[in-house]
Protein backbone atom coordinates (compact mmCIF):
# COMPACT_ATOMS: atom_id res chain seq x y z
CA UNK A 1 0.00 0.00 0.00
CA UNK A 2 2.81 2.37 0.95
CA UNK A 3 4.50 1.50 -2.28
CA UNK A 4 1.34 2.21 -4.26
CA UNK A 5 0.94 5.63 -2.64
CA UNK A 6 4.54 6.50 -3.43
CA UNK A 7 4.04 5.37 -7.01
CA UNK A 8 0.82 7.36 -7.33
CA UNK A 9 2.54 10.42 -5.90
CA UNK A 10 5.38 9.99 -8.37
CA UNK A 11 2.93 9.81 -11.27
CA UNK A 12 1.01 12.86 -10.06
CA UNK A 13 4.17 14.90 -9.57
CA UNK A 14 5.45 13.79 -12.98
CA UNK A 15 2.27 15.11 -14.55
CA UNK A 16 2.38 18.32 -12.56
CA UNK A 17 5.95 19.10 -13.46
CA UNK A 18 7.96 17.74 -16.35
CA UNK A 19 11.19 15.98 -15.36
CA UNK A 20 14.32 18.04 -15.82
CA UNK A 21 16.59 16.45 -18.42
CA UNK A 22 19.04 19.33 -18.35
CA UNK A 23 21.20 20.89 -15.67
CA UNK A 24 24.62 22.44 -15.33
CA UNK A 25 26.62 19.94 -17.33
CA UNK A 26 26.63 17.74 -20.42
CA UNK A 27 25.48 14.25 -21.34
CA UNK A 28 28.00 11.76 -22.65
CA UNK A 29 26.60 8.84 -24.69
CA UNK A 30 27.95 5.36 -24.34
CA UNK A 31 29.80 4.78 -27.62
CA UNK A 32 27.65 2.52 -29.74
CA UNK A 33 28.81 1.99 -33.31
CA UNK A 34 26.23 -0.64 -34.24
CA UNK A 35 22.52 -0.36 -33.41
CA UNK A 36 21.71 -3.95 -34.34
CA UNK A 37 23.80 -6.81 -33.03
CA UNK A 38 20.86 -8.98 -34.20
CA UNK A 39 21.99 -10.67 -37.46
CA UNK A 40 18.48 -10.22 -38.84
CA UNK A 41 19.25 -6.55 -39.32
CA UNK A 42 22.85 -6.87 -40.41
CA UNK A 43 24.33 -3.82 -42.01
CA UNK A 44 24.84 -3.25 -45.69
CA UNK A 45 28.36 -3.46 -46.98
CA UNK A 46 28.87 0.25 -47.08
CA UNK A 47 32.37 1.66 -47.13
CA UNK A 48 33.54 4.44 -44.85
CA UNK A 49 34.25 6.48 -47.96
CA UNK A 50 30.58 7.16 -48.42
CA UNK A 51 30.01 8.04 -44.76
CA UNK A 52 28.27 11.44 -44.66
CA UNK A 53 29.84 12.17 -41.26
CA UNK A 54 33.30 11.85 -42.80
CA UNK A 55 32.26 14.69 -45.14
CA UNK A 56 31.11 16.82 -42.17
CA UNK A 57 27.41 16.38 -42.86
CA UNK A 58 24.99 16.09 -39.92
CA UNK A 59 24.87 12.57 -38.45
CA UNK A 60 21.07 12.32 -38.43
CA UNK A 61 18.88 10.48 -35.94
CA UNK A 62 19.50 8.27 -33.98
CA UNK A 63 23.21 8.24 -34.89
CA UNK A 64 23.76 11.71 -33.41
CA UNK A 65 22.66 10.28 -30.02
CA UNK A 66 25.08 7.35 -30.21
CA UNK A 67 28.39 8.95 -31.03
CA UNK A 68 30.78 9.23 -28.12
CA UNK A 69 30.56 13.02 -28.04
CA UNK A 70 28.87 15.15 -25.38
CA UNK A 71 25.63 17.02 -25.89
CA UNK A 72 23.46 19.37 -23.85
CA UNK A 73 19.72 19.35 -23.36
CA UNK A 74 18.16 22.82 -23.14
CA UNK A 75 14.63 22.40 -21.88
CA UNK A 76 11.84 24.95 -22.15
CA UNK A 77 8.08 24.26 -21.82
CA UNK A 78 7.43 24.58 -25.58
CA UNK A 79 10.56 23.09 -26.97
CA UNK A 80 13.49 20.90 -26.02
CA UNK A 81 16.71 21.67 -27.86
CA UNK A 82 19.60 19.23 -28.17
CA UNK A 83 22.95 20.89 -28.72
CA UNK A 84 25.75 18.64 -29.99
CA UNK A 85 29.51 19.04 -29.75
CA UNK A 86 30.18 16.27 -32.27
CA UNK A 87 28.99 15.83 -35.82
CA UNK A 88 28.72 19.17 -37.54
CA UNK A 89 28.11 21.60 -34.61
CA UNK A 90 24.38 21.32 -35.26
CA UNK A 91 21.37 21.47 -32.95
CA UNK A 92 18.07 19.67 -33.02
CA UNK A 93 14.67 20.75 -31.74
CA UNK A 94 11.75 18.77 -30.35
CA UNK A 95 8.45 20.63 -30.29
CA UNK A 96 6.58 20.08 -26.99
CA UNK A 97 3.61 22.38 -27.75
CA UNK A 98 1.29 19.66 -29.03
CA UNK A 99 1.64 20.46 -32.72
CA UNK A 100 1.42 17.58 -35.22
CA UNK A 101 4.07 16.73 -37.82
CA UNK A 102 3.72 18.69 -41.06
CA UNK A 103 1.72 16.74 -43.67
CA UNK A 104 4.44 16.76 -46.31
CA UNK A 105 7.74 17.66 -44.62
CA UNK A 106 10.79 18.61 -46.65
CA UNK A 107 13.17 15.67 -46.17
CA UNK A 108 16.17 16.88 -44.17
CA UNK A 109 19.13 15.65 -42.10
CA UNK A 110 17.62 15.85 -38.64
CA UNK A 111 13.95 15.30 -39.42
CA UNK A 112 10.93 16.91 -37.78
CA UNK A 113 10.53 16.00 -34.12
CA UNK A 114 7.57 16.33 -31.76
CA UNK A 115 7.58 15.12 -28.18
CA UNK A 116 5.44 14.45 -25.15
CA UNK A 117 5.91 13.21 -21.59
CA UNK A 118 4.91 9.65 -20.79
CA UNK A 119 5.24 9.82 -17.01
CA UNK A 120 8.92 10.51 -16.40
CA UNK A 121 9.88 9.57 -19.96
CA UNK A 122 10.33 11.99 -22.82
CA UNK A 123 8.96 10.40 -25.98
CA UNK A 124 10.21 11.94 -29.23
CA UNK A 125 8.56 11.09 -32.54
CA UNK A 126 10.51 12.02 -35.67
CA UNK A 127 9.82 11.80 -39.41
CA UNK A 128 10.85 13.80 -42.47
CA UNK A 129 14.39 12.47 -42.93
CA UNK A 130 16.34 12.43 -46.17
CA UNK A 131 17.91 9.13 -47.27
CA UNK A 132 21.46 10.28 -46.86
CA UNK A 133 22.08 9.74 -43.16
CA UNK A 134 23.20 6.48 -41.59
CA UNK A 135 21.37 5.14 -38.57
CA UNK A 136 24.69 4.37 -36.84
CA UNK A 137 28.45 4.27 -37.41
CA UNK A 138 28.11 0.74 -38.79
CA UNK A 139 26.11 2.06 -41.71
CA UNK A 140 22.52 0.83 -41.37
CA UNK A 141 20.69 2.55 -44.22
CA UNK A 142 17.15 3.87 -44.31
CA UNK A 143 14.65 5.47 -46.66
CA UNK A 144 12.55 8.63 -46.47
CA UNK A 145 9.86 6.50 -44.81
CA UNK A 146 11.98 6.37 -41.66
CA UNK A 147 9.97 6.93 -38.50
CA UNK A 148 12.00 7.08 -35.28
CA UNK A 149 10.57 6.94 -31.77
CA UNK A 150 13.04 7.75 -29.00
CA UNK A 151 12.41 7.40 -25.28
CA UNK A 152 14.58 9.34 -22.82
CA UNK A 153 14.29 8.40 -19.13
CA UNK A 154 16.46 10.05 -16.51
CA UNK A 155 16.96 7.16 -14.14
CA UNK A 156 19.09 9.19 -11.74
CA UNK A 157 20.84 12.56 -11.48
CA UNK A 158 23.74 11.23 -13.53
CA UNK A 159 22.10 8.60 -15.73
CA UNK A 160 19.72 8.51 -18.68
CA UNK A 161 18.28 5.50 -20.45
CA UNK A 162 17.82 5.82 -24.20
CA UNK A 163 15.55 3.54 -26.18
CA UNK A 164 15.01 3.91 -29.90
CA UNK A 165 12.60 2.24 -32.26
CA UNK A 166 13.24 2.22 -36.01
CA UNK A 167 10.21 1.85 -38.26
CA UNK A 168 11.03 2.02 -41.95
CA UNK A 169 8.96 -0.26 -44.20
CA UNK A 170 11.11 0.82 -47.13
CA UNK A 171 14.24 -0.62 -45.51
CA UNK A 172 13.28 -3.19 -42.84
CA UNK A 173 10.60 -5.90 -42.74
CA UNK A 174 9.44 -4.91 -39.27
CA UNK A 175 10.03 -2.20 -36.67
CA UNK A 176 13.01 -2.90 -34.42
CA UNK A 177 14.43 -1.38 -31.30
CA UNK A 178 17.75 -0.77 -29.67
CA UNK A 179 18.91 0.97 -26.51
CA UNK A 180 21.82 2.83 -25.03
CA UNK A 181 22.57 5.09 -22.10
CA UNK A 182 24.05 8.50 -21.35
CA UNK A 183 25.99 9.63 -18.30
CA UNK A 184 25.87 13.18 -16.94
CA UNK A 185 29.10 15.15 -16.51
CA UNK A 186 28.24 17.89 -14.05
CA UNK A 187 29.89 21.26 -14.59
CA UNK A 188 31.37 20.37 -17.98
CA UNK A 189 30.77 22.48 -21.06
CA UNK A 190 30.62 21.73 -24.75
CA UNK A 191 33.72 22.52 -26.79
CA UNK A 192 33.70 23.97 -30.28
CA UNK A 193 34.69 21.36 -32.81
CA UNK A 194 34.31 22.39 -36.44
CA UNK A 195 34.52 19.26 -38.57
CA UNK A 196 35.45 21.19 -41.71
CA UNK A 197 38.61 22.48 -40.02
CA UNK A 198 39.92 18.93 -40.11
CA UNK A 199 39.28 17.84 -43.67
CA UNK A 200 41.25 19.16 -46.59
CA UNK A 201 39.25 20.97 -49.23
Amino acid sequence: MKCFILFALAVISAQAQAPDLGGDGVWLPRPMPDLAPNPKFQKNHTTNKSDPVARCLPPGVPRIMLMARPFEIVQTPNRIVFVYEGGAHVWRQVWMDGRPHPKDPNPNWLGHSIGHWDGATLVVDSIGFNEQTWLDDAGHPHTEQLHVIERFTRTGPLAMKYEVSIDDPGAYTQPWTSSSSFSFRAGEKLAEDICLDKISR
Partner: protein
Protein backbone atom coordinates in the same frame (compact mmCIF):
# COMPACT_ATOMS: atom_id res chain seq x y z
CA UNK B 1 73.03 77.10 -41.62
CA UNK B 2 70.44 77.92 -39.07
CA UNK B 3 68.32 75.18 -37.56
CA UNK B 4 64.81 75.17 -39.08
CA UNK B 5 62.24 76.98 -37.01
CA UNK B 6 59.76 74.82 -35.15
CA UNK B 7 57.00 76.14 -37.40
CA UNK B 8 58.74 74.96 -40.57
CA UNK B 9 59.49 71.60 -38.95
CA UNK B 10 55.81 71.23 -38.13
CA UNK B 11 54.80 72.15 -41.69
CA UNK B 12 57.27 69.57 -43.07
CA UNK B 13 55.85 66.95 -40.74
CA UNK B 14 52.31 67.73 -41.87
CA UNK B 15 53.40 67.50 -45.54
CA UNK B 16 55.18 64.19 -44.93
CA UNK B 17 52.16 62.76 -43.21
CA UNK B 18 49.99 63.76 -46.19
CA UNK B 19 52.26 61.75 -48.48
CA UNK B 20 52.31 58.83 -46.04
CA UNK B 21 48.49 58.70 -45.94
CA UNK B 22 46.92 55.28 -46.16
CA UNK B 23 45.47 54.18 -49.48
CA UNK B 24 41.73 54.84 -49.87
CA UNK B 25 39.15 52.24 -48.94
CA UNK B 26 38.10 49.89 -51.69
CA UNK B 27 34.75 50.85 -53.19
CA UNK B 28 31.46 49.02 -52.81
CA UNK B 29 31.43 46.51 -55.70
CA UNK B 30 27.82 47.45 -56.47
CA UNK B 31 24.49 45.64 -56.17
CA UNK B 32 24.82 41.87 -56.39
CA UNK B 33 21.07 41.33 -56.71
CA UNK B 34 18.54 43.21 -58.76
CA UNK B 35 17.34 45.61 -56.03
CA UNK B 36 13.71 44.81 -56.84
CA UNK B 37 14.32 41.20 -55.81
CA UNK B 38 15.42 42.11 -52.35
CA UNK B 39 12.55 41.76 -49.90
CA UNK B 40 13.53 44.86 -47.90
CA UNK B 41 10.32 46.66 -48.85
CA UNK B 42 8.26 43.51 -48.29
CA UNK B 43 8.99 43.43 -44.58
CA UNK B 44 5.59 43.06 -42.94
CA UNK B 45 4.42 46.19 -41.16
CA UNK B 46 4.22 45.29 -37.50
CA UNK B 47 2.96 47.22 -34.55
CA UNK B 48 5.52 47.40 -31.77
CA UNK B 49 4.44 46.59 -28.24
CA UNK B 50 6.43 46.93 -25.04
CA UNK B 51 9.53 44.74 -24.71
CA UNK B 52 8.59 41.52 -22.90
CA UNK B 53 10.21 40.36 -19.68
CA UNK B 54 10.64 36.98 -18.01
CA UNK B 55 8.88 36.33 -14.70
CA UNK B 56 12.05 37.22 -12.76
CA UNK B 57 12.39 40.59 -14.50
CA UNK B 58 15.14 39.73 -16.97
CA UNK B 59 14.50 40.89 -20.55
CA UNK B 60 12.87 38.20 -22.70
CA UNK B 61 14.63 37.75 -26.05
CA UNK B 62 12.39 34.89 -27.16
CA UNK B 63 8.79 34.27 -28.15
CA UNK B 64 6.92 32.75 -31.08
CA UNK B 65 9.10 33.96 -33.91
CA UNK B 66 12.70 34.63 -34.88
CA UNK B 67 15.14 37.51 -35.24
CA UNK B 68 16.23 38.55 -38.72
CA UNK B 69 19.37 40.71 -39.08
CA UNK B 70 18.93 41.50 -42.80
CA UNK B 71 21.75 41.44 -45.33
CA UNK B 72 24.44 43.58 -43.77
CA UNK B 73 27.46 43.05 -45.98
CA UNK B 74 29.62 45.67 -44.30
CA UNK B 75 29.78 46.37 -40.56
CA UNK B 76 31.14 49.88 -41.15
CA UNK B 77 28.86 51.21 -43.93
CA UNK B 78 25.17 52.13 -43.88
CA UNK B 79 24.65 50.69 -47.36
CA UNK B 80 26.52 47.88 -49.08
CA UNK B 81 25.83 46.14 -52.40
CA UNK B 82 22.62 48.06 -52.80
CA UNK B 83 20.96 47.28 -49.48
CA UNK B 84 20.90 48.50 -45.88
CA UNK B 85 24.00 47.58 -43.92
CA UNK B 86 25.13 48.75 -40.45
CA UNK B 87 23.07 51.39 -38.61
CA UNK B 88 25.79 54.02 -38.97
CA UNK B 89 29.05 54.63 -40.78
CA UNK B 90 32.27 54.01 -38.85
CA UNK B 91 35.73 55.32 -39.70
CA UNK B 92 37.46 52.03 -39.03
CA UNK B 93 40.88 52.50 -37.35
CA UNK B 94 42.65 50.04 -39.67
CA UNK B 95 46.22 48.97 -39.15
CA UNK B 96 48.07 48.82 -42.49
CA UNK B 97 47.68 45.04 -42.89
CA UNK B 98 43.95 45.03 -42.17
CA UNK B 99 43.38 47.88 -44.63
CA UNK B 100 45.35 46.02 -47.30
CA UNK B 101 43.49 42.78 -46.59
CA UNK B 102 40.13 44.53 -46.57
CA UNK B 103 40.79 46.22 -49.91
CA UNK B 104 41.94 42.94 -51.46
CA UNK B 105 38.85 41.14 -50.23
CA UNK B 106 36.47 43.80 -51.56
CA UNK B 107 38.27 43.92 -54.88
CA UNK B 108 38.22 40.16 -55.38
CA UNK B 109 34.53 39.96 -54.41
CA UNK B 110 35.15 38.07 -51.15
CA UNK B 111 36.12 34.94 -53.04
CA UNK B 112 37.97 33.53 -50.01
CA UNK B 113 35.10 34.17 -47.60
CA UNK B 114 35.07 31.35 -45.01
CA UNK B 115 31.27 31.40 -45.12
CA UNK B 116 31.36 30.36 -48.78
CA UNK B 117 33.31 27.29 -47.69
CA UNK B 118 30.66 26.50 -45.05
CA UNK B 119 32.91 27.49 -42.16
CA UNK B 120 31.28 29.32 -39.24
CA UNK B 121 30.74 33.05 -39.81
CA UNK B 122 31.71 33.76 -36.23
CA UNK B 123 30.88 36.66 -33.98
CA UNK B 124 29.75 39.46 -34.56
CA UNK B 125 28.96 38.51 -38.16
CA UNK B 126 26.02 36.37 -37.04
CA UNK B 127 24.31 39.68 -36.27
CA UNK B 128 25.09 41.07 -39.74
CA UNK B 129 24.20 38.04 -41.85
CA UNK B 130 20.95 37.26 -43.69
CA UNK B 131 19.90 34.23 -41.65
CA UNK B 132 17.30 34.22 -38.89
CA UNK B 133 18.16 33.12 -35.39
CA UNK B 134 16.50 32.56 -32.03
CA UNK B 135 17.66 33.15 -28.47
CA UNK B 136 16.66 30.61 -25.82
CA UNK B 137 17.27 31.77 -22.25
CA UNK B 138 17.72 29.49 -19.28
CA UNK B 139 18.85 30.33 -15.77
CA UNK B 140 22.55 30.22 -16.55
CA UNK B 141 22.80 30.32 -20.34
CA UNK B 142 21.61 32.04 -23.47
CA UNK B 143 21.52 29.59 -26.36
CA UNK B 144 21.62 31.11 -29.83
CA UNK B 145 20.39 28.82 -32.58
CA UNK B 146 21.00 29.81 -36.19
CA UNK B 147 19.37 28.68 -39.39
CA UNK B 148 22.29 29.63 -41.55
CA UNK B 149 25.76 28.37 -42.28
CA UNK B 150 25.58 24.82 -41.09
CA UNK B 151 22.62 25.18 -38.72
CA UNK B 152 24.91 26.23 -35.88
CA UNK B 153 24.49 26.98 -32.19
CA UNK B 154 26.30 29.30 -29.81
CA UNK B 155 26.16 29.24 -26.02
CA UNK B 156 26.64 32.32 -23.82
CA UNK B 157 27.34 31.39 -20.20
CA UNK B 158 25.67 33.78 -17.79
CA UNK B 159 28.23 34.72 -15.16
CA UNK B 160 28.11 38.17 -13.53
CA UNK B 161 31.75 37.74 -12.52
CA UNK B 162 32.58 37.51 -16.21
CA UNK B 163 35.44 35.07 -15.93
CA UNK B 164 36.62 33.19 -19.00
CA UNK B 165 38.27 29.79 -18.59
CA UNK B 166 42.07 29.89 -18.68
CA UNK B 167 44.07 28.56 -21.66
CA UNK B 168 41.25 28.83 -24.17
CA UNK B 169 41.58 26.88 -27.38
CA UNK B 170 41.22 29.32 -30.30
CA UNK B 171 37.83 28.90 -31.99
CA UNK B 172 35.59 30.47 -34.64
CA UNK B 173 32.92 31.56 -32.15
CA UNK B 174 35.14 32.32 -29.18
CA UNK B 175 34.25 31.91 -25.52
CA UNK B 176 31.21 33.96 -24.49
CA UNK B 177 30.44 35.08 -20.94
CA UNK B 178 27.44 37.30 -20.33
CA UNK B 179 25.45 39.16 -17.74
CA UNK B 180 22.32 41.29 -17.64
CA UNK B 181 22.57 45.06 -17.12
CA UNK B 182 18.97 46.14 -16.70
CA UNK B 183 17.28 45.34 -20.00
CA UNK B 184 20.56 44.68 -21.81
CA UNK B 185 22.39 41.39 -22.24
CA UNK B 186 26.11 42.16 -22.23
CA UNK B 187 28.42 39.49 -23.65
CA UNK B 188 32.21 39.45 -23.43
CA UNK B 189 33.90 37.27 -26.05
CA UNK B 190 37.55 36.22 -26.39
CA UNK B 191 39.37 33.08 -27.54
CA UNK B 192 39.01 33.55 -31.30
CA UNK B 193 41.09 31.83 -33.96
CA UNK B 194 41.57 34.99 -36.06
CA UNK B 195 40.21 33.29 -39.20
CA UNK B 196 36.68 34.71 -39.19
CA UNK B 197 35.76 37.86 -41.11
CA UNK B 198 33.74 40.54 -39.33
CA UNK B 199 31.48 40.81 -42.39
CA UNK B 200 31.10 39.73 -45.98
CA UNK B 201 33.06 42.75 -47.20
CA UNK B 202 36.10 41.37 -45.40
CA UNK B 203 37.08 43.28 -42.25
CA UNK B 204 39.79 41.04 -40.82
CA UNK B 205 40.44 39.89 -37.25
CA UNK B 206 43.34 38.45 -35.30
CA UNK B 207 43.33 35.95 -32.45
CA UNK B 208 43.62 38.92 -30.05
CA UNK B 209 40.04 39.89 -30.90
CA UNK B 210 37.99 40.89 -27.87
CA UNK B 211 34.32 41.74 -28.34
CA UNK B 212 31.81 43.37 -26.06
CA UNK B 213 28.30 42.81 -27.38
CA UNK B 214 25.19 44.52 -26.07
CA UNK B 215 21.73 43.14 -26.91
CA UNK B 216 18.72 45.30 -26.01
CA UNK B 217 15.13 44.53 -26.97
CA UNK B 218 13.88 48.09 -27.17
CA UNK B 219 10.31 47.02 -28.04
CA UNK B 220 8.57 43.75 -28.87
CA UNK B 221 9.84 43.68 -32.47
CA UNK B 222 13.22 45.41 -32.27
CA UNK B 223 16.60 44.16 -31.07
CA UNK B 224 19.34 46.77 -30.90
CA UNK B 225 22.74 45.18 -31.32
CA UNK B 226 25.90 47.04 -30.40
CA UNK B 227 29.38 45.55 -30.62
CA UNK B 228 32.75 46.97 -29.64
CA UNK B 229 35.65 45.47 -31.54
CA UNK B 230 38.90 45.59 -29.63
CA UNK B 231 41.68 43.90 -31.55
CA UNK B 232 45.05 45.61 -31.06
CA UNK B 233 46.68 43.41 -33.70
CA UNK B 234 44.18 44.45 -36.33
CA UNK B 235 42.92 47.95 -35.43
CA UNK B 236 44.69 50.91 -33.83
CA UNK B 237 41.89 51.44 -31.27
CA UNK B 238 38.60 49.85 -30.24
CA UNK B 239 35.62 50.74 -32.43
CA UNK B 240 31.90 50.20 -32.16
CA UNK B 241 29.22 49.37 -34.68
CA UNK B 242 25.46 48.80 -34.53
CA UNK B 243 22.70 46.87 -36.23
CA UNK B 244 18.95 46.88 -35.74
CA UNK B 245 17.59 43.35 -35.88
CA UNK B 246 13.90 42.81 -36.61
CA UNK B 247 11.47 40.31 -35.12
CA UNK B 248 9.55 38.06 -37.52
CA UNK B 249 6.49 36.74 -35.66
CA UNK B 250 5.72 33.07 -36.23
CA UNK B 251 8.94 32.46 -38.10
CA UNK B 252 10.57 29.08 -37.50
CA UNK B 253 14.12 28.20 -38.40
CA UNK B 254 14.64 25.87 -41.32
CA UNK B 255 17.45 23.38 -41.39
CA UNK B 256 20.08 24.83 -43.69
CA UNK B 257 23.10 22.62 -44.26
CA UNK B 258 25.67 24.58 -46.26
CA UNK B 259 27.95 21.59 -46.55
CA UNK B 260 25.31 19.67 -48.51
CA UNK B 261 26.64 19.60 -52.08
CA UNK B 262 29.01 22.53 -51.54
CA UNK B 263 31.03 22.43 -54.74
CA UNK B 264 31.10 26.10 -55.67
CA UNK B 265 33.69 27.82 -53.54
CA UNK B 266 36.74 26.34 -55.30
CA UNK B 267 35.49 27.82 -58.58
CA UNK B 268 35.27 31.38 -57.26
CA UNK B 269 37.80 33.54 -59.07
CA UNK B 270 36.97 37.03 -57.83
CA UNK B 271 36.88 40.06 -60.08
CA UNK B 272 38.54 39.55 -63.48
CA UNK B 273 37.80 43.09 -64.70
CA UNK B 274 40.80 45.23 -63.84
Amino acid sequence: MKAPSPLIALACLALASTFAQQPPLAKDPGPFLPPSDFPEDKVPKLVAGPAPHLSDGRPDFGGDGAWYPGFNGNVAETKWKGVKSADQHVDVPFLPWTLKTYNERVENLSKDDPEAKCLPVGVPRFMFDPYPFQMIQTRNQVLFVFEGDNYLWRIVTIDPKGTHPKNLKPTWLGDSVGHYEGDTLVVDVIGFNGLAWLDQAGHATSDKLHLIERYTRTDSITLKYEVTIDDPQAYSKPWTTYNTVHWRPGMELMESICQEDEKSSIHMIGNTKK
